[in-house]
Symmetry: C2
Subunit: 353 residues, 2 copies
């Protein structure tokens, strides 16, 4: 193994299966993988930049799909599955996802259901995909009636995070990924939050965030307790995305969500005002604004479809200090009724409306 | 636990998850399950017969879907997923499949992908579903371009096999299930084949076949070696179904498939002529006829999409005596080239064309 490549082995829930994570530079031209056959699924915008070279390196077929969140649609899934069938892809083939979180989620899902499961490898090319979508095996597509409501938990055979691909990322994409990094810091690793200020496309921080997410996921691969803390900021974040009809970047929705759920943690008496103000400062580089169409009622309605809901009650992940989510008897979320939410919703409107 | 109910605990691949199998009579009105909420998905033909009573017993919502293989279509899957969403089904809900193999396969698949996996229970009401579809966690739907090509391996929380439901089954449905029972006997348990002759809707034989399949599946839940022996008769069987455009009962296709693959086992020098003739006798109650449109070429083309195929070669499960599939270095299937297949394909046409 080349010294410039860091390799970490992740142990998901299926004992016979492990995920190899490679982090380093210029990894797309290195021979890190072996299989009878590879098929690469690439964001069409990245085909020329990385796709053709990787296809050459792996002697792979290449399937280009639409860019962005559109990739996670039923239409693209159907197209991809039929392409795989037409290419006579069998159980000995490894699918490779090359692109952002949407491509990773789509390809993971396709791999998990094609012929009842074939192997796949994720090659995330955005900060958000590296620290979030690629880690933990969650896959999914969006349905006309709800985002990410259809999916599986299906760990990849390998993840290749080439930090070199981040150098060409636009600033807005950085900010997008940064929201998830801050979130991981807030719930699990205060050090990460300390490192945020001087953040200037620092690969060490990327690795640190990936490792924190891996540590959480390995303790609860099937999302039954500890792992739920990763939903911090996402009950409100997902609700805002639905209110905005998904015309708001995920990172910005999560940023507002993290702030609002920190406010809620303070309101309910768990978090100190001092920590809350520190958290607000962490997000100073974000342009936080509630989406058009936002009302507390619209948000409450959107949140009523939240996946964490139990017996009709909304549930929130809460923190009691920077770097620590509250366990609540091991469930890592707590019922919050509308009355308890009210002042946080009002505060959101006042601050960011 | 009532003495008339036999309970077996199955251990699938996910350590934290087990399947409870209940076998007995009049189980649909017994309180065997507990959950925050149940939603029953029922074959519309069984709604009056069993659906309403079970819904009452479980205080469940009821979703009726089309009968037969149509249930396993993308259209019905989309309908079901949207109904679940509209009913605000959350992670605390258990889906219950009530019907034949198609309903079990569809509901298992829907449960495996809805919100990245919710729990489900199978209540098979046909012989084929009890001994085959319900055991082993395979789920799936048919796509316009291929049957069962999309699916997951996702074990149910419980299986309830009420043998009383079999008493109303038509004779053709019995024969359908019998083919899979004989198959299990041929590859794994010669005793089952000995019990076939006096077979007259014998619940003890149903349980024996279920137990044999459970024993196989538990040794290889993810279908990587031993479990593949269950594909005996299915390389040709699936091919025949495709040639017949799925207008042939699965049991009949599997019956011809088992006979033909026994013939192949003999041709290749593994199986004795004496055993082959015994196997032929086992199928004397089946009306075996090749589907319209059958030609060796059409079958070879259809088989070229087989899921077991590796590096472009067709692979077959083979037996060397009644009750024993050949291991072939633990792969439980062997490459067979077109030349080796020829005399078996000719024999099929001669006998059943």
């Amino acid at each position: 193994m080349d010294e410039s490549v860091k390799k970490i082995v992740i142990h998901p829930h299926v004992p016979s299966q492990t995920t190899e994570l490679f982090v380093g530079r210029h990894l797309l031209s290195k021979e890190l993988l072996s299989a009878a056959r590879f098929v690469i699924v690439v964001d069409q915008k990245l085909k020329d930049l990385y796709g053709d070279a990787l296809a050459h390196c792996l002697r792979a077929d290449l399937i280009a799909i639409p860019s962005g969140e559109k990739a996670k649609s039923k239409q693209v899934l159907d197209y991809l599955l039929e392409e795989l069938f037409q290419l006579k892809v069998g159980k000995d083939t490894v699918l490779v996802a090359l692109g952002g979180g949407a491509v990773c989620d789509l390809v993971g899902f396709a791999a998990s259901i094609y012929m009842r499961g074939i192997a796949h490898v994720l090659v995330p090319t955005t900060l958000l995909a590296m620290v979030d979508a690629a880690i933990g095996g969650k896959t999914g597509i969006d349905m006309p009636f709800g985002k990410n409501l259809i999916g599986t938990i299906y760990p990849p055979k390998a993840i290749i995070a080439d930090v070199e691909t981040l150098s060409s990322l636009p600033e807005t994409e950085w900010i997008n990924g940064l929201a998830e990094i801050i979130k991981i810091g807030l719930i699990y690793d205060a050090d990460i939050c300390d490192d945020i200020e001087p953040f200037t496309k620092n690969p060490a921080l990327v690795l640190k965030a990936m490792q924190a997410k891996i540590a959480i996921v390995q303790q609860d691969p099937l999302d039954r307790s500890l792992r739920r803390m990763l939903n911090f900021g996402h009950t409100i974040g997902h609700g805002l995305e639905a209110v905005a009809d998904y015309q708001i970047p995920h990172g910005r929705a999560v940023a507002i969500g993290c702030l609002a759920e920190s406010h809620l943690s303070w309101q309910l008496g768990y978090l100190s005002m001092q920590d809350f103000l520190k958290i607000q400062a962490l997000f100073h580089r974000f342009s936080l604004q509630l989406p058009k169409g936002y009302t507390p009622q619209a948000l409450l309605h959107a949140m009523s479809y939240d996946k964490k809901k139990s017996l009709g009650k909304l549930r929130f992940v809460l923190i009691d200090q920077i770097g620590r989510a509250l366990p609540f008897d091991g469930a890592y979320c707590r019922n919050v009724d509308h009355e308890e939410l009210k002042s946080t919703l009002d505060w959101m409107e006042e601050q960011y409306g």
